[in-house]
Symmetry: C2
Subunit: 343 residues, 2 copies
């Protein structure tokens, strides 16, 4: 076997651990529940056990680069402390990296979960062979990651990439971050459900109301299913998702002029419902996009890995992620490989 890494996706709900070799082949993947309620040490034990099992199983046939861990929250890259993580209560200011290094005696790299997802898509997914890219991850919240020159752009304190908290509506919906009208309030799964409930509360949206009543787990997915069945109220909600994304992507394209912007996360499955509104906004709002737009963005976006020509005539690609929920595992596994290469 080739040399390999172990990538970890430590989410608030799932804990996933995978062995990935240096060619990007996922050798084995373990999915555990993150037993947040049993406390931090319990979760750490589960994680370390699974890592050890994988590293022993594959360690005889190829050397281990190290361990990369994607974590929801803000990480201090210098100290390896998790500074803030709403989904992992009790982990704040805990020396996660050092503790796991101590237990496993291997290099451990901690990274924000949206950053590793971006890094995964840049290595093996929609932005493969692109040195520069940005990714938006539409999940419970909206995460973001920026890869410049083939490296995750951390900014000075490791906090860069928070595109989800760009203001879309200055006097809009209050956001947990303290701002109002953040992208996250219009393009996350949470936002999709909120917008549906708002429409229902206004005595509009009969079909949505019936679905919400019948479906105990009335989710973004339920609303998407109504949208593709043609329900106009559900479709309108996804157009709002696309509009908000289009406004923020317009600013990103104008500011950064990257070759490719990738949309991932669970809500990205509703791409056909919100994608057209993104391109509508970009065409009207974004001078750099207008000057560099491919002839048919939806065609290119729907395809496999987007091929972007180098040189002055290069086009701006906005496209769906390709690796699904494994993006973060691949990206996390890539971290120690890159760190190794730098030595």
């Amino acid at each position: 076997m080739n040399k390999f890494s172990i990538g970890v996706d430590l989410g608030g709900t799932n804990l996933r651990i995978a062995a990935v070799d240096e060619t990007g082949h996922l050798v084995e993947k373990v999915t555990l529940g993150t037993k947040v309620s049993l406390g931090r040490d319990h979760v750490l034990n589960d994680m370390c056990e699974a890592i050890q099992r994988l590293s022993q199983k594959y360690g005889n046939s190829g050397a281990l680069f190290g361990i990369g861990i994607g974590v929801p929250g803000i990480i201090d890259m210098q100290t390896g402390l998790l500074r803030e993580s709403p989904n992992l209560p009790g982990w704040a200011d805990y020396p996660v990296r050092d503790e796991i290094e101590r237990r496993l005696n291997t290099m451990v790299i901690l990274e924000n979960d949206a950053n590793v997802a971006a890094f995964g898509e840049q290595w093996l997914g929609a932005a493969k062979e692109q040195e520069d890219m940005a990714m938006l991850t539409l999940g419970t919240g909206v995460g973001g990651g920026l890869v410049l020159g083939g490296k995750i752009w951390h900014g000075m304190n490791g906090m860069a990439g928070e595109f989800g908290h760009s203001t879309v509506e200055p006097e809009g919906q209050p956001c947990g971050c303290g701002n109002r009208g953040c992208l996250e309030q219009y393009a996350s799964a949470t936002a999709v459900v909120r917008m549906a409930r708002e429409a229902i509360a206004q005595n509009e949206a009969c079909t949505l109301a019936r679905a919400a009543h019948a479906d105990a787990e009335f989710s973004a997915k339920s609303i998407y299913n109504l949208a593709i069945q043609g329900d106009e109220d559900a479709r309108r909600i996804f157009r709002r998702v696309g509009r908000a994304l289009g406004i923020v992507l317009s600013a990103m394209v104008n500011a950064l002029n990257l070759p490719i912007y990738v949309i991932g996360g669970g809500v990205a499955s509703a791409w056909d419902a919100f994608g057209p509104a993104i391109f509508e906004e970009l065409r009207h709002r974004c001078m750099v996009y207008a000057a560099t737009a491919p002839a048919d963005p939806l065609a290119s976006a729907a395809g496999a890995s987007a091929h972007v020509e180098p040189g002055p005539g290069r086009k701006t690609i906005i496209t769906r992620a390709l690796l699904g929920s494994d993006a973060g595992l691949y990206g996390a596994a890539r971290l120690p490989m890159i760190a190794e290469a730098k030595r």
Copy 2:
């Protein structure tokens, strides 16, 4: 004398040319009117004559690195063509760089004017000793420049840095770029005058109305003068300027987590009228700023070159530019020095 460059600031109104040595000393500066109405060739002749005079005058005592030219508009960095330049009619798709290189037989580097201003401030101004910075230039429009790792970030087609066309109000004032509610529509000199005229048209703002009537050249400066004299309508306009800047800077700080963001251009002279509103917005809207804010941003912003500590506790600085209208000259002169160093 030290080795030197010639920097050119080719504006729609002024043509300025300076010899700058490698230590950043401005040796001589020539200011000419840009006689746009006499045509492109006339302007090129004026420019090349002045460059030749300076390069001959100082060429005996130190070698010339080359010539850097800041131009308003979008430049194709590969071909040296000026692709779009509303303020220089007749220059579009003209091979400016190659023509000047041919005439003067020296390396010529063409660059967007907002990019060279950012590069000047990064070399010798408010962001001195910072590898990473962004700058907003508030003039007739709102320009932007981004310096990452000590180099101008061009993006894939040389169009990056257009922060002035980030959306502040999705349904706001139409902008020349095709979008609505761009930062440029709230934070440029043009916008300040428009907002004053809007207030006058609504039969508000008596003092502004009197000033507009009395003053043939009713300008952003006239409105600023009223603001510092305490006129509430004029003050409100500058609070709107600060609010719009705060909204866009919040997104920039969240996305890039840079150590320093510099505000320059003519409107920056009104810093005391709009600065407080910027920080008000940042404190409420920007999670990364809130986590990395200096204790008293206005104190640090009002001071000389902002000193930023390295390391995990680094603070986000938002501050005024220091080089005034010479920033672009310094930045342009710096271009051939950097190109030389790369060889």
